[in-house]
Amino acid sequence: MMKHLADWLPLLAHGALQSAKMMLIAYVIALVFGAVLMLMRRSRFRLISGIAGIYITAIRGTPVLAQLFFIYFGLAEMGLVMSSWQAAIIGLGGNSAAYVAEIYRAGIESVSRGQIEAARSMGLRRFQITRLVVLPQMVTVVLPPLANQAVVLIKETSVASLIAAPELMHEARDLAAEFYMPLELYLLAGLMYLMLAFPLSVLARHLEARLRIER
């Protein structure tokens, strides 16, 4: 194994970098699309809030692998052909967006109505209330679960290897097939995921502990 390590490590490290890149892009999509979904969910129009509600429930009730297969193979059959990388980013981002929307919603709902009414009666405008009263408090509630979602996302990128998207697990499978040393290679891949995910989960817990004291 030691003599192969020099060959493997650069390839696995490259795969880990691609996983991190995939996760970051999907995370940004999730943060933005999640906000849109949350706003839709809170809309006064039944139709709009209904669509967002169905989307969120459907995503949360089905595995990300089934969603990826539908996007990559299903949509291609219907004429919308994407690369596996694009399908992975859209699938993972769209999946996390549903969870992020729920995180935002919990954040907004954590600010008590009384505060908003008080701010109103003091003469603040709607936008000022959002900026000065709701957002600062929402951030403290929202940050820890958002960091947790990043941990979930980095692990979910591994599933993208099943639609042959180029990332760490895909690299490990290629090497395992070539050298026929699956135990060593998948353990190494696991170690690399650990190095990617562990700092994030430490951050999540740190935020949780710190922000709880502040409240």
Partner: protein
């Protein structure tokens, strides 16, 4: 069997997906039981054991939670086979998903045990109850209420994770769906049907989790 046409073809697809759904449920229930069985002693040791035991369990939980379940499945199915330990794909799936889940489950159990105020266990001890009586009569009934909502959410996660077992050739719904697509080329219809099947199982569970959460919330505010 791609030669079947029209309604027969659809009936064939439904029959195959139903078979897969059953295996999915088997794998989900099997790994849930496996998780709980491993997690229960871990959680107990975490709240009662010495610092070394606590540290070891901490590492176990952190490692299993930071590595993707797909990687863990591949280590167990492909990796252990090279050491001579050849597991069937369903067995490997239940062990892999179960070990992965045990880390989450242990945290849920621990939170449940720790949610019971120390004063209560001390009072029960002072009243002359033995250690296991305190656990059975005081801690457990309250811990169960605390544990049920997160455990339901965990089960939903586990159900969805079973789809990954298709990658180690466990004949659950995702794998059978892929085979069907290869036979019929009806990928949008088949993958949407698969999502519907998952929803049929997970939606009642999502509802149940929400109901349990509200109930536990009411229980907590009464305390």
């Amino acid at each position: 069997m791609a030669h079947e046409q029209g309604i027969d073809l659809y009936l064939y697809i439904i029959r195959v997906l139903a078979t897969g759904a059953w295996v999915t449920i088997e794998v989900a229930v099997g790994s849930l039981l496996f998780s709980m069985l491993v997690a229960a002693p871990l959680a107990n040791a975490q709240s009662l054991g010495g610092p070394t035991v606590k540290a070891i369990i901490r590492v176990y939980v952190e490692v299993f939670r930071a590595v993707p379940v797909l990687t863990q499945l591949f280590i167990i199915y492909f990796g252990l086979a090279t050491l001579g330990l050849k597991l069937g794909s369903i067995t490997a799936a239940i062990i892999g998903l179960g070990l992965n889940g045990s880390a989450y489950c242990a945290e849920i159990f621990r939170a449940g045990i720790e949610a019971v105020p120390r004063g209560q266990t001390e009072a029960a001890r002072a009243l002359g109850l033995r250690r296991w009586q305190v656990f059975r009569l005081v801690v457990l009934p309250q811990a169960v209420r605390m544990v049920l909502p997160p455990l339901t959410n965990f089960s939903i996660q586990l159900l969805k994770n079973t789809s990954v077992a298709s990658a180690v050739a466990a004949p659950e719904i995702m794998l059978l769906a892929r085979n069907l697509v290869n036979e019929t080329f009806l990928s949008p219809q088949i993958y949407l049907s698969v999502c519907l099947v998952y929803l049929c199982i997970s939606l009642p569970m999502i509802r149940l989790a929400g109901w349990l959460e509200r109930r536990t919330g009411a229980f907590e505010s009464r305390q």
